[in-house]
Amino acid sequence: MNTARPVTPPVAAWRDQLPTLVRVYGIILTLVLLVAVVGIGNPAFLSGQNIFNMLSQWAPAGIMAVGMTFVILTGGFDLSVASGYSLCAVVAAYVGQDYPPTIAFGAAIVVGLLFGLANGLLVAVVRINPFITTVGSGFVINGVALVMTKNAAFLVDNPDFGTLGAGRWHGIPYSGMLLILFLLVFGFILARTIYGEAIYSVGGNYEASRLSGIRVRTVVASTYVVLGGCVGLAGSIIASQLSSAQANLDPGIIFDVLTIVVVGGTSLSGGTGAMWRTVVGLGIIATISNGFVLLDISPYYQSIIKGAIIVAALALDGGLTRLVRAK
């Protein structure tokens, strides 16, 4: 209603912007509320010790969410991360039995980059739907891990192997530092570099980006490679934390990764979202999970509450979007 008029009274402008502000930053409000509820319910939640433990525990899923944010922003999707995560852990553990940890983790990351590249080429160059591509490649990757391990666990008894996942510096876990580093570095890449700008453009409108001379296929394919690298590191961290790995490590982790990205407000249709949203999403999911333990909520109710909070967060987002559009 005010759109045609260039000058609007400040009060009206503030009121008009309220829905937009709530839509853009409302998800932070959800996080603050959750933190307050859990923190009041059990003050131990906010202790340094607990926060460091959470960082370490959520490092693998969080690092994969960083890569997934890139993929989803281009309008893509990757369902093969759970299988990839296990395979990279298996590779790290396998190589780590005989070689130094750095070589083991390096090998896992290289494997991650390679299947990321394969996914990227299939999606961007052969142009198969990303959903189907990654369901299929997920099966293949999982199969490779099964063949490698014959479905047994690889155990690593080299104590240095555990440093990456379980080591700490003044109580701060290395894995947690890596998570924060990834969020910052890739957040910067997304927000402030040519590459990040290209990702947003391609995700927002593939055809217009192509017609503007952007190398759309390279951009799309590269995001799967970035994700692959993240999966390689995440697999290394979990293998290090457990000092072992097996082919079906944590099939459910894909849902954590996707939920972290989407709850933060990054759109599955591509083009809109940000790394800070993934930070907030990670905070929400981690707080809910940790809160259940600290508030001693029966496991029977946990998934109901978790599911309800996720759906409520997205419904709020959608409802506000419509409200803004209706204006």
């Binding site: 947003y200 927002g204 409108n205 055809e207 980006s209 952007i214 083009g271």
Partner: protein, 517 residues
């Protein structure tokens, strides 16, 4: 015919299929319809002609209930229709067959005909009943289509027939056909004419829209002309001639003699010889000098867009010889190829092909040259803003709105961005496809100012527009195309809208001309 006992007026009204009184409709910035009054008699074939943007589409969308008039009223079969309830509109008995067919490609012919009202017994699809009815309809209409053929395996003509079958099945009293013959070959056309005759005998009223004036005069009982959102005149076909129709369509336009440059010795920038794109265009040759504005005129579907897309490297199948600065070079095979040669395309579909709507105006202005304003791989926000502000000034875009998402901008502002995003690269040849479609007069002026100042700086511009006046006014030379072929190249000062139209219709009329499939 039902005889009414009440006076004359009542009787006459009952023979009217549709009566429209003083209907107006405006969109932001555009008065699309101005006090249109219109009468469609029962069993009449009524032609509707007018230039692009005259308001025909808005008008028929209103009749079919797809949009609501601001003022005025519409009666169907003597009953006023309300625009409150969309379902009620659908039952008005009016079917519209748009240029964009509403056929579901993956479904069978049968399913497409019964779309939306599948015959059923207790919710179980009555397949045998459907097939029986399908054969009845096909027989009566004289079409041979297998009910089990997938719609996307059928020709455009047969897909169109499916839509007509749908309308006949639902026993609609009025069928609106929007340029139904445009995609048809000569044989398919005559089949459609026959069908229209048969529908007419059965008291179905038809509104027939076409750019082929001979066809309109031959087929219709009466013809109405629309121009600038007004219904100018309705006459019996016999009272029109092709000339009077064209005159009425155009009105008394004052063609402001634009700044026509005498084509002296300008340095040649781009030469195209014998461009062909299989099935679309062939034998197109032209040259573009520094600072030239070359217009391409033709009907929708004549191959204008294809010429631009081929030059911009978007059609890998395009063949031809291209020279740049007089030197022969390989035909561009990709957008990046074209950009390297200094060729940039501002495509017709702003929202789908031109802009990233979810991004700010600033991002869009630098979209085609993302890497230019940065330190290494890192963007420089300050320098980006400065560059975008300069571009904005150049194209008449308010720099205060640089942070607005493209989605929330008006069509005119969006179009400015589509052009502006190329300017940072300083292309030498700018291809503009329908740069003024659906935008208001002020924005149009600003866009043409931009085009002029660019051409003053030596940029070569190729302009495609359905608005012939615009092409005639702003182009230094005009390439006239019809049915994928080049039929003339006119110098700006010898061109007129009438001359161009006559050239086009001379080719598009001839049924023997090499058909579009």
């Amino acid at each position: 015919m039902v005889q009414s006992p009440i006076g004359n007026k009542r009787v006459s009204e009952s023979t009217l299929a549709i009566r429209v009184r003083n209907v107006s409709k405006s969109f932001p910035g555009v008065q699309a319809l101005r006090k249109v009054s219109f009468v469609l008699e029962t069993g009449e074939v009524h032609g509707l002609v007018g230039a692009n943007g005259a308001g025909k589409s808005t008008f028929i969308r209103m009749l079919s209930g797809a949009s609501t008039p601001d003022t005025g009223d519409i009666e169907v079969q003597g009953l006023p229709i309300s625009f409150e309830d969309p379902r009620a509109q659908r039952n008005n008995g009016i079917a519209a067959i748009y240029q964009e067919l509403t056929i579901i490609p993956e479904m069978s012919a049968l399913s497409n005909v019964f779309l939306g009202e599948v015959p059923n017994r207790w919710f179980i699809v009555d397949r045998r009943g459907m097939e029986k009815r399908f054969h009845e309809l096909a027989l009566w209409m004289g079409v041979k289509i297998s009910p089990h053929a997938k719609a996307n395996t059928l020709s455009v003509a047969n897909q169109q027939m499916l839509e007509i079958m749908r309308a006949v099945h639902a026993e609609h009293d009025v069928i609106i056909m929007d340029e139904p013959t445009a995609p048809l070959g000569p044989f398919e056309r005559s089949r459609l004419y026959e069908l229209i005759g048969r529908l007419k005998e059965n008291n179905v009223s038809i509104i027939f829209i076409s750019h082929d004036l001979d066809e309109v005069l031959r087929l219709c009982d009466r013809v109405s002309v629309m121009r600038d959102g007004q219904l100018i005149e309705t006459r019996a076909s016999a009272a029109w001639t092709k000339d009077t129709l064209v005159k009425s369509m155009l009105g008394d336009i004052q063609i402001v003699p634009g700044r026509k440059r005498e084509r002296g010795r300008v340095k040649e920038l781009l030469g195209v010889q014998n461009l062909s794109l299989p099935g679309k265009v062939s034998g197109i040759s032209f040259e573009l000098g520094e600072g030239d504005v070359l217009g391409i005129a033709g009907l929708v579907g004549a191959g204008r867009t294809e010429v631009l897309r081929s030059v911009a490297g978007l059609e890998p199948l395009a063949e031809g010889r291209m020279t740049i600065d007089g030197r022969e070079c390989a035909w561009p095979q990709s957008v990046r190829d074209a950009i390297e040669r200094g060729i940039a395309l501002a495509p017709e579909d702003r929202k789908r092909e031109g802009l990233v709507l979810s991004r700010s105006a600033l991002s869009n202005l630098l979209l085609a040259d993302i890497g230019s304003v940065s330190k290494g791989p890192v963007l420089s926000p300050g320098a980006r803003r400065a560059a975008a502000t300069m571009l904005a000034r150049q194209i008449g875009f308010d720099p205060k709105r640089l942070d607005t998402d493209a989605l929330h901008l008006s069509g005119g502002n969006q179009q400015k961005l589509v052009i502006g995003k190329w300017l940072h690269r300083r292309p030498r040849i700018l291809l503009l496809d329908e740069p003024t479609r659906g935008i208001d007069l002020g924005a149009k002026q600003e866009i043409f100012q931009t085009i002029r100042s660019l051409s003053d700086e030596g940029m070569g511009v190729i302009l495609v527009s359905s608005d012939l006046e615009e092409v005639v006014e702003h182009a230094d030379r005009i390439l006239v195309v019809a049915r994928g072929k080049q039929i003339a190249t006119l110098d700006g000062h010898e061109a007129s809208v009438e001359r161009v139209l006559n050239l086009i219709f001379a080719v598009e009329d001839r049924p023997a001309a090499v058909g579009v499939n």
